[in-house]
């Protein structure tokens, strides 16, 4: 099998003369930015230098930053990761490697292998409703520049965030989806991010999703890793949800413990739109999800859910931010964590209600179970309310499994292990209930149960893993 070793950072750009992890990428960009641009689209290059400048200024985030205090990237951001700046073909056919293990989901299926969109090779996708465009962001940016230039980077470029800036400098491709006005996708769209490499490897991809007025779409993003090397993915997704549109975003992570998964999801909601986000981490290494939802119209509905099951030394930090800029919208947030062994969880629930966003109702819940004394959870509700006629609440709990409930079950003949499992499963139940794709909900119930039983230690869907 052909390897991609020849594009690793060390051989491409430097030979140990620089110490800082950051500096190697700064130098890499300075030396290779022309090549980076050459292998991307003009629309994506417009803001590239500015993003790089911002990154130079900000650097990679450390836990000293308020927004990153629960994310420890020290170990992740060390050593070397290869990059594929020249867009060499990755020797893998995801359509063969990946067998989706959500039976009956009948999705439109797409792959991003590392940081590049994999050419569509599935007859099922030919039946997309008229006007819907799904494909490689860099390719589509050349075919439909007028469409993409109005949106690309509009949510991400202004973010004072080192990871987002780094992505702006290095991302060359990603997933693009456009659903025109009043078109409703009849089946879910599934995007599988697969990490595949023979050497430690980094991927920066940028996804862009645009829903016109009254459009409707469900996107399921699955993160998988294939090889036993260190992976670092830094992905930014921008989503524009038009008036009256309905968008559901499911993110399901099932990666190995040597993966660092950094993901930023930025959603803009126009009036009367409805957004559901459900961010599920079943198995991982180090994960940071930044989710920011801007409510820029009246009468919006927003439901953001998430769930984490972690053990060993896994780390998951969900940093969420819901911003009510306009009146009369409802948002609800529900995150649940089950942490075992030496795992660490973090949750931030930032809620901003602007002065004009009267009649906002916003509720936030974060509940966590620690299964032993060494697991750690940090949670922080952060409410900033400038309007005076709102209903807002938040609640966070960290606790153990209910011993009285466990004994009650045992006294009915249910063994302790099974009772614990039932309690943990029940605990995560309301997050799973908020999956509106039936086939996915059924599958998640099973996967969560397996995960809690300790039977799911890596991604099941990949042929290579089995």
């Amino acid at each position: 099998m052909e390897t991609i070793k020849n594009v690793s950072v060390s051989e491409a750009s430097f030979s140990g003369r620089l110490e800082g992890f950051e500096q190697q990428y700064i130098d890499l960009y300075k030396q290779y930015h022309e090549q980076i641009k050459q292998h991307s689209a003009p629309v994506m290059n417009v803001s590239r230098n500015a993003s790089f400048g911002l990154f130079e200024q900000l650097g990679f985030p450390t836990s000293k930053l308020e927004n990153y205090k629960y994310t420890d990237l020290k170990e992740s951001l060390s050593g070397e990761y290869g990059l594929n700046l020249n867009r060499l073909k990755i020797p893998v056919n995801p359509y063969e490697v990946f067998k989706c293990d959500v039976p009956g989901i009948h999705s439109y299926l797409y792959f991003v292998v590392n940081d590049g969109f994999y050419p569509v090779n599935d007859a099922r996708n030919e039946t997309l409703p008229e006007g819907v465009i799904i494909g490689s962001l860099s390719k589509m940016a050349e075919v439909h520049p007028e469409l993409i230039e109005n949106y690309y980077g509009k949510l991400s470029c202004t973010k004072k965030d080192g990871l987002v800036a780094f992505n702006g400098a290095f991302a060359q491709d990603g997933f693009f989806m456009y659903v025109p006005q009043n078109v409703q996708l009849d089946r879910p769209v599934q995007l599988i991010n697969i990490m595949r490499s023979d050497v430690d490897f980094m991927a920066n991809s940028h996804n862009l999703i645009i829903l016109g007025k009254g459009a409707k779409a469900q996107l399921l993003v699955c993160d998988h890793t294939v090889d036993d090397v260190r992976f670092l993915s830094n992905r930014v997704t921008e989503v524009f949800v038009g008036e009256n549109a309905t968008y559901e975003h499911y993110k399901l992570e099932n990666t190995h413990t040597r993966t660092t998964n950094l993901s930023t999801l930025l959603i803009d909601q126009q009036a009367s739109s409805n957004v559901l986000g459900n961010i599920i981490t079943l198995h991982n290494g180090v994960t940071r999800n930044t989710i920011e939802i801007d409510i820029d119209g009246e009468n919006c509905e927003t439901l953001l859910c998430g769930m984490v099951i972690a053990d060993k030394k896994q780390q998951v930090d969900n940093f969420t931010s819901i911003i009510h800029n306009q009146p009369n919208s409802n948002s609800r947030e529900l995150f649940k964590y089950v942490l075992d062994d030496l795992s660490k969880g973090g949750f931030t629930g930032k809620l901003y209600v602007a002065r004009d966003a009267q009649k906002t109702s916003a509720f936030q819940t974060n509940r966590n179970i620690l299964l032993n004394k060494s697991a750690k959870m940090r949670t922080k509700p952060q409410l900033e309310i400038y309007a005076d006629d709102v209903k807002c609440s938040h609640g966070a709990t960290i606790g153990q499994l209910d011993e009285t409930a466990k004994f009650y079950m045992q006294s009915r003949g249910i063994p302790e292990k099974e009772a614990r499992l039932l309690l943990m499963y029940a605990f995560t139940g309301d997050v799973i209930e908020n999956i509106r794709i039936d086939a996915l909900q059924d599958r998640m119930k099973l996967l969560v149960e397996k995960r809690l039983r300790g039977e799911l230690s890596k991604c099941e869907g990949c042929v290579i893993c089995q």
Binding site: F407, G413, P415
Partner: protein, 275 residues
């Protein structure tokens, strides 16, 4: 003092002992602590198949502790004595094993378990019991039929069965749900811990009715109660008075009437005056 009381209870029960044969449950000189404090201080009790034993006594006497110890609640520590259930050393068994051997506790305060549906809970319990006894899993149709039958027995609302275990149930519904679970699991020894507390007369009658309908020659019940009222509905073969961690007096159901009339002071006095 100890011997006097033991003799008393033995004279009362020995004719029945011969008639009914082998004991289902034998408790001998049971001592138990919670948080280092001794609650049970040498309790003896024998229960045979077909019998209903009522245990009465003032607050703090150890009635609920007895129920907890018999079902294996980890908060309690047995320091001395033995409990034999159907020939097995009960104290050696985990709570779930005791349950699967046929012991059932109707909790004084049934526990709410949000997110676990009654159906799932009962199906798991039934199948664990069957597994323990070497039987196959129950079929879906048999399970539904069983649920329907037993719900009718305690006149339980269909809606309750579809909800999470005890979540949002009223006090009466919770107690009814305990008897429903008892009917589903068909225990050989059921312990009803203050099942009458918090019940109105109608609910009390329904709950007692359920218990009576489940009575058979080969199973037995221990009914823990404060009040004689419940014993109008569930007629006991024996009434015991538990005081300061021991059974200090045993008798027939007439003893319950006497207690209702005279309170516990005379018993306390008797105990204290005994040599």
């Amino acid at each position: 003092m100890n011997t006097t009381n033991n003799n008393q209870s033995q004279t009362l029960t020995s004719p029945l002992l011969e008639r009914l044969g082998e004991a289902l449950l034998t408790i001998k000189n049971l001592h138990a602590n919670i948080n280092g404090k001794e609650i049970l201080k040498g309790l003896d009790l024998t229960v045979r198949p077909g019998e209903i034993h009522a245990i009465m006594g003032p607050n703090g006497a150890g009635k609920s502790t007895l129920a907890s110890v018999l079902t294996g609640n980890p908060a309690f520590e047995v320091t001395h004595g033995s409990v034999t259930f159907q020939g097995k050393d009960l104290l050696e068994l985990a709570p779930e094993q005791r349950a699967n051997e046929g012991i059932f506790l109707s909790f004084q305060y049934p526990v709410e378990i949000p997110g676990v549906s009654m159906v799932n809970f009962m199906r798991t319990a039934i199948n664990e019991q069957r597994k323990y006894r070497g039987l196959d899993q129950i079929s879906a149709t048999d399970f539904l039929r069983l649920m329907r039958e037993k719900k009718e027995l305690v006149e339980m609302d269909n809606k309750l069965a579809n909800r999470s275990v005890n979540e949002g149930f009223s006090g009466g519904e919770k107690k009814r749900n305990e008897i429903f679970q008892m009917a589903m699991l068909d225990p050989s020894l059921s312990i009803l811990d203050e099942t009458d507390s918090g019940l109105d007369i109608d609910a009390l009658r329904i709950v007692a009715n359920g218990v009576n309908k489940l009575k058979r020659p080969n199973n037995a019940s221990i009914v823990i109660t404060h009040y004689q009222r419940l014993l109008d509905y569930i007629i006991p073969d024996f009434v015991h008075v538990l005081y300061d961690g021991k059974i200090v007096k045993s008798g027939t159901k007439d003893l319950a009437f006497e207690l209702e009339e005279r309170g516990y002071d005379w018993i306390k006095q008797e105990v204290e005056e005994a040599p």
